[in-house]
Assembly symmetry: C2
Homo-oligomer: 205 residues x 2
Amino acid sequence: MNFSSRLLEDAVAEFSKLPGVGQKTALRLVLHLLNQQSEDVEKFSQAITRLRNEIKYCKVCHNISDLHICEICSAVKRDKSIICVVEDTRDVMAIENTNQYTGMYHVLGGLISPIDGVGPSDLNIESLVDRVKSGETGEIILALSATMEGDTTIFYLYKKLKEFNLPITTIARGIAFGGELEYVDEITLGRSIATRIPYENSLVK
Amino acid sequence: MNFSSRLLEDAVAEFSKLPGVGQKTALRLVLHLLNQQSEDVEKFSQAITRLRNEIKYCKVCHNISDLHICEICSAVKRDKSIICVVEDTRDVMAIENTNQYTGMYHVLGGLISPIDGVGPSDLNIESLVDRVKSGETGEIILALSATMEGDTTIFYLYKKLKEFNLPITTIARGIAFGGELEYVDEITLGRSIATRIPYENSLVK
């Protein structure tokens, strides 16, 4: 693109680095900001800088937090005996939104992915083992994505954690609610038959 | 959404204000920035603030520029006798990319749109009339979108400019190159028959 201004070009280049944002979208976003009040743009850029520089991670579960111990870890009412292991803070938010879970979390900060150069030592696995070692835990739920990376990570964690003789569970995989059978892929459908459960068990409150 | 941090919530709220960016996309972008180096995030937010505070608009054509007179207006080689009137800087970039036009531009900064509260006085129309009055101009091309707002603006400009007895043209409307007749809407197809041109004229270099 032929930019009429270097400042414009720089801003578009920065926006283009964001995931899923191409040059045309970046230009549209930048021109939108250019039409806003100067104070609003200042607020926008300050929110980003402050986030990056002042954000803390919970010392227990590694979730994003404003405090050293996050609200979930310091809550009195939650069940401290279950740890739900997730990839990142988005998964915590998604599970919290279901209102179905009242235990603790542990945020890995990613998944094992040799192709991206992410090994077990890059994730918050050591601290998970330490938490389990401390003896408070009664069950570990592995709530990771049903992808190659997710499965690799689940297998690695299982091997690391099985020595503690705790129930290690993974979230159920199968056809989604509202999903029509004929559109479900073969692997999911096949596995959902193999891992079928008694009808009464599917009626949980 | 339940955010685990106010800083995170603020940043997501700011990103959600951008056009076409919902809360989920905003969260994805913010978490991406959070994973970047602090200096890179600083660069990102500075590029935006600098753009907003230091940007200039060309005094002649109102295009975005780093100088008081933009490169196109100060170019010696360009044809000063033709002014192409466009909505915003994106249109200038699009036309420049065609390499088919060597005249001047005039950026209106929007289109007349009563529903959005944009009237003729909010656009750079007075300065266009002044440019034409100065006598250097031999033709005015109205290159505006083929929408209700575009047509309203074209009609307004035509009435304002016709007293100068100059050729006032609009860019051709019709079926796009590569377009198949059966998929073209009726208005476009009907108008493209009514405004047909001699075959030889369609063979411009």
